[in-house]
Subunit: 216 residues, 2 copies
DNA sequence: ACCTGAACACCGTTCAAGT
DNA sequence: ACCTGAACACCGTTCAAGT
């Protein structure tokens, strides 16, 4: 711990993320990271006291890539889209790291900053206290859950599976028991995550809109 | 693999889940599970060919606990609440297993059944195809993301941390830079997950409502 | 102070041998 | 056919020794 001279924290972070991106989570270990950096395994303990801290290193490397423009005078909905979209894009750029991000994001500085930016955007409609909390939880859950679903929902492509194979997997289900799943499996083929993310977030924000009642 | 006589699949599932519930994910291994069952490590390979399949065993044990009533003639919103709520409750009853569920839920039969039930409920308003897909993705993301957030969001209690300690952690942040985070950290103290889940899902369903436009 | 190799108690998995 | 111990190539982490 403390000040180390041999590598910067950023160097170690980058090496850990590269390892995960390239070879998957299971390949990340004290020893493989040390080897990637060209040093002995014990050197890593100067940057991560436990195996878990190795994962924090990766999470911070990913989240640090999330950048959103100044939401200055944007409409509150547009402002939420900017921050939420930036988070989502950063996460989904590193599919092998997603499990870690969902598990260990809480301490990352970028995540704290993103939370504040999201809250500021949501608050522009006059929300505060409990109602702001609910809106924040809902939007956060949507962003993180959506990123994860792309990899692990029933509709997700399995490892090494083609889109055609996925649809076949659903066609093999009994049509009388799972008519709706089969329906959306077809719809999923001519859809894309970007569109679905935006449409889903739009719906959530419409429901959260403080002026929802006054429109009627 | 194949038919095994020594233990039923359910026995092995239950033992694996008990291990995770009691000692955490890191304690689940071929060897510890075998020991819990009172047999040799190699016997486990008759039920799980790889370490990953061990995790699938746990996920299926958790998801099998999700039960929802017949949604028969309920309002579509109420029907979605029944299924989504059942999933959420089952997942959050096993905090140590949540990471696995998010990662490996896709193959569980209960998850497939829940997906179909969710889709049926969402479809009652006349949704189908792409619009049904978007609604399904949004609700699924919300449920899974919300369950995870309880453990890993910036507002989540850290391991062994009291609620008071969490609020103190936020009070320690610079108030001029994170005013909103500090605001909702206070709000979170007099709130509870159940209320937030319901309110968030209500908002999402309001935004997804097919009659949203016609109300104005 | 920082770095590191040897050693220890684990892991998943293969293999060959038991019944 | 099912079960299993021994063995192998890994892990994270402690410790003691280097600079």
């Amino acid at each position: 711990m403390g000040r180390s001279a041999k590598f910067s924290r950023e160097q170690v972070q980058a090496a850990a993320l590269a390892l995960v991106d390239e070879h998957g989570l299971s390949h990340l270990s004290m020893r493989t990271l040390a080897a990637a950096l060209g040093t002995g395994a014990m050197t890593i303990y100067n940057y991560a006291a436990h195996r878990e801290d190795l994962e924090v290193l990766v999470v911070e490397a990913v989240m640090a890539e999330a950048k959103w423009p100044d939401t200055g005078k944007a409409d509150w909905r547009a402002a939420v889209h900017m921050v939420a979209g930036a988070l989502w894009r950063a996460i989904r750029a590193h599919p092998h790291a997603i499990a870690l991000i969902l598990t260990r994001r809480s301490r990352s500085p970028t995540v704290i900053d993103a939370a504040e930016a999201l809250l500021e955007a949501l608050s522009r409609g006059g929300r505060s206290g409990h109602s702001l909390l609910v809106a924040f939880r809902a939007v956060s859950a949507f962003v993180m859950g959506f990123a994860q679903a792309e990899l692990a929902s029933p509709l997700a492509l399995q490892a090494g599976e083609s889109a055609q194979l996925t649809i076949n997997r659903f066609r093999a289900l009994p049509a009388d028991r799972y008519p709706f799943l089969i329906d959306i499996a077809h719809a999923a083929m001519s859809s894309d995550p970007q569109t679905e993310f935006r449409a889903g977030l739009d719906a959530l924000l419409a429901g959260l809109a403080p002026d929802w009642g006054s429109r009627c």
